[in-house]
């Protein structure tokens, strides 16, 4: 009995994905646990393993690499040795050598006239949808595309929205329109954090230098233990507060914004967090992070300091309650007043200042507790010994 190979659901919100490629060839023997194909889900590229033993058979009309496929779509079969695949004729056939797997998706067809007109008008027809009976691109399709593109700058390029981009779009829109986002900003003195980092750099034995994102992830995790209302999410009519902090780290990749997750960040040391995020970010940037590594965070840290951004309003990554944005660290003059005085200067010093921006969902938590959380983060930034000892 042939076993069907179907498109799996990689995450609860996944309805379709992109079939990337087979990792086994038609006719090849597959063992349970072997990786048999790659699938791009909402966020991650996943290598899907076989649940059974058998010989892989790929029907001629199976989805081509690059095709968008719905969850549950049939990709192929596993058959027993000598067994006929369901798509094969019932007459006995001599086994054929494995078909070479095609790497290019089928190109759209275009009528000669439409092709000529596309050249005349400079229309890139490869991405057009044909309205002809067989899906052929006809002249009218090209002219329509040309009319639309003349309304745009001549350099406009059109690419289909990728599954990753679509998820980002939906979640960012939800973060602004479903949540009730409010952003608080606070300028903090990061001099001690800078000093801590410099000392670690000097230390020959340090295996990994934590980034400011790592430092703030550690600090935020610590503060969230004391302010669990910010480590919450809304589920139907309930507010669910997690005892563990799963820290999302916003990462810019070619595919778009992704947030790999450091699990149980509250229980991990700074260097553990640093080592873990370094590996996670590398896997995320190269598309190798698994779907599980990209979901389930309870709080997110987002850093734009490397782009010389002072402050910004991060968008909540629903269903989380809050997100912490990190601005750049700059040297500033700071005036310290004589104790008890209102305008007498005790000293003017140069400090390394940084603006933290906390966006929280006002549906779950009010302004004062959110402010108290941000204030606690400020204290922990300014006095690292407070959390180094825990």
């Amino acid at each position: 009995m042939a076993i069907e190979i179907l498109v799996p659901r990689l995450g609860w919100t996944m309805e379709e994905g992109v079939f990337v490629e087979w990792l086994k060839r038609d006719g090849e023997t597959v063992r349970q646990g072997d990786l048999i194909f790659r699938l791009e889900g909402d966020k991650a590229l996943t290598e899907v393993e076989s649940m059974d033993d058998g010989i892989l058979r790929i029907p001629p009309d199976a989805p081509q690499p690059g095709a968008t496929v719905p969850v549950g779509a049939l990709l192929g079969y596993l058959v027993a040795p000598g067994e006929r695949a369901p798509f094969e004729p019932s007459l006995p056939v001599t086994p054929s050598p494995p078909l070479p797997t095609s790497s290019a998706p089928a190109a759209p067809t275009i009528s000669p006239r439409a092709l000529r007109v596309a050249k005349e008008l400079g229309v890139d027809w490869a991405a057009l949808r044909g309205s002809g009976r067989t899906g052929r691109i006809v002249e009218a399709d090209v002219r329509k595309a040309a009319a639309q593109s003349t309304a745009q700058p001549p350099t406009a390029r059109r690419v289909p929205v990728s599954p990753t981009r679509r998820v980002i779009a939906e979640r960012m829109a939800a973060g602004l329109h479903v949540a009730a986002p409010v952003t608080l900003s606070s300028e903090v003195d990061a001099t001690e954090l800078v000093r801590l980092r410099e000392q670690l750099k000097q230390d020959k034995k340090a295996t990994v230098i934590p980034s400011y994102s790592d430092l703030l992830a550690k600090i935020a995790a610590h503060a969230l233990l004391e302010h669990p209302a910010l480590n919450a999410r809304l589920e139907e009519d309930e507010i669910v507060t997690d005892s563990a902090v799963h820290m999302g780290i916003a990462v810019d990749t070619e595919r778009g914004l992704l947030a790999p997750v450091v699990r149980d960040a509250q229980a991990k040391s700074l260097l553990q967090i640093a080592a873990e995020t370094r590996a996670l970010i590398e896997r995320t940037r190269t598309g190798k992070a698994t779907a599980d590594e990209l979901r389930g965070s309870t709080f997110t840290v987002s850093n734009l300091g490397m782009y010389e951004i002072d402050a910004f309003s991060p968008v909540i990554n629903l269903p989380e309650c809050a997100i912490l944005g990190l601005g750049r660290i700059v040297a500033k003059q700071v005036v310290t007043l004589r104790p008890g005085s209102i305008d007498e200067i005790e000293r003017v010093s140069v400090r390394r200042m940084m603006t933290l921006s906390l966006t929280f969902d006002h549906r779950l938590v009010d302004g004062a507790p959110a402010a108290a959380f941000l204030q606690r983060v400020k204290h922990l930034v300014e006095q690292p010994y407070l959390w180094l000892v825990t």
């Binding site: 009528s111 000669p112 006239r113 000529r116 002809g132 009976r133 067989t134 052929r136 006809v138 002249e139």
Partner: protein, 328 residues
Amino acid sequence: MRELTYTAAAREALAAAMAKDPSIFVVGEGIGARGGNFNTTAGLYDLYGPMRLRDTPIAERGFIGLCAGAAMTGARPVVDFMFLDFILDAMGELINQVAKMQYMSDGRLKMPIVLRGSVGVGGSAATHHSGNYYSIFAHIPGFRVVLPSTPYDAKGLFNTALRGDDPVMFLEHKLLLNTKGPVPEDDYAIPFGQASVVREGGRDCRVTVVALAAMLRKTLDACDQLAKDGISVEVIDPRTVAPLDMDTILQSLHKTGRLLIVDETFAPCGIGAEIAAQAVDRALDDLDAPVKRLNGAHTPTPYSPPLEAAVIPNAATIEQAIRDLLAE
């Protein structure tokens, strides 16, 4: 302008030519005192007598050979077959002698012979009297094959047929013979190889239809229906299938991008296949869809009226074919 029937228009051309040129004579069955089964020679016997309107026995190959000899020696015979189907008995004479004689004689001998007869499906003429043979004759080098669809064209093309030096097949669709239309009294000639754009499409016109003989009228009826839905169609009547005016067809195709050939006769190896092949060959980059043909069924023509109607295109099937092509 005065209106004449298709037959009367052609007869006017014949009568005027016979008055001017004593070398023109007509042979055929019943074309003398009887005036022709289809009135093609009505009244001419009284004017020119039995020497120039010569009734013949049923001996097609014989009188074709006789007329071929007369043409070679300077006369201008008009052979009236009544039903063109009867020409089949003279195919050897026609293809081997009439069509080739000018070539064989290096042009020293001429072959100014007009071979006329009714063609086409209609009126329960049944399978021996319903043939269309233009594709067969257009296949043979040496023949001019003329297929008028209106009284105006019938007179103008007949005049040209009577003035050239080549053998001309003058094929008159039997359903057109009694149709009326405007015909000028003056002596005009329509050159062979000039198609007529019968209905010009608008700027947004996306389909060209080539319609032959009796199919032209049905196509125009279909176009009237389509116009109610705002669909514009450009209609071309080739008028002669040899020579074939592809340039006019291709000019239209360049404008519209789609081509349908409506041809009453059989599709295989027919003139529609020839037009399609030349369109693909010469105007591939103008084609926005496959070239389509709408033909009669590939079958002997039935006698039964409903069956006879079923084997040839009509306005409704033409309309559907145009809609289908536009959806390609």
